[in-house]
Symmetry: C3
Subunit: 132 residues, 3 copies
Amino acid sequence: MFITVKTDQKTQLIDITSTIQEVVSVFCAENNIEDGLCMIYIPHTTAAVTINESADPSVKTDILMVLNKIIPWEDGYHHLEGNSPAHVKAVLVGSSELVAIENKKLVLGTWQGIFFCEFDGPRSRKVNVKIM
Amino acid sequence: MFITVKTDQKTQLIDITSTIQEVVSVFCAENNIEDGLCMIYIPHTTAAVTINESADPSVKTDILMVLNKIIPWEDGYHHLEGNSPAHVKAVLVGSSELVAIENKKLVLGTWQGIFFCEFDGPRSRKVNVKIM
Amino acid sequence: MFITVKTDQKTQLIDITSTIQEVVSVFCAENNIEDGLCMIYIPHTTAAVTINESADPSVKTDILMVLNKIIPWEDGYHHLEGNSPAHVKAVLVGSSELVAIENKKLVLGTWQGIFFCEFDGPRSRKVNVKIM
């Protein structure tokens, strides 16, 4: 199943935990399963997915600040499209996450949320949610 | 299943390969299975898991040295808890690893070990081991 | 199943998408399956795997340029083998990727390819492809 994420900034972290949980709930109900594994997969090359703190929004700000510092927007890149830093960020953060499902619920730590990571927005993006 | 890892430093890599193998061995024996897949999942937001060289302990030292250089402890962070660098390290290293199981054994490369990565210790931590 | 990758540079990204797809096609035909999950696993500690843009080769150049800048070859490392930067790059990029299989095909985004990442070449390397 695909979900759609609309981003409105150049670089942005968006908490998609509740949307993923909805997909999991529907799938578990329809297929009468309780436990399994959920893969969250990003089919883009300038976006990524990560799991981190969802309580304090300033954590998102700091994550983006560090990534933008480590991988500056101007640095003699060869790729003419001008979004090489976004590609590098996607490589470092990663294109998929795996989360266990127990009793039809994503098994996340107390402070964890699942974040879509936009590195070359604003855009309309897709996230592939596969449940096994 | 959860295993517990006690860390005693601020940033620290701890080889948990043999503990994970024990969990795998018990699970395979109890469920009479030979092959599968092992997910090692960290339910924390300032810790991570990685797979890298287990032979020479100085590799761990160098990995932490580079991470602490790239992501300094003081850098105008917004998150008031003061551990933003630990969150960023967790994002870059990642919250889970997957390892195949064959003949009841983790299929690792010759030099590979599985490392719990503490980025905001010392703490008592949990690692979720899920076998499929 | 293992595939072999021969690298001819110190640091290098090699597109292995078509080779992985061949392994998937053969496996699906032999086992009469249509859908599943493919794990691409690197059993080395100075190499990695990533998914990113396969259309423009300059993206690979830029990814390596940034990684070599962030993690310099000389930096007071402790590991006497002299390849600590390669270990750190492997930790940050990661040792495995997961891709869904539908209708016997890897489910990748339009611009995505699977890249073997050599960080301490040239060498002959192995990639473990596990299909579930």
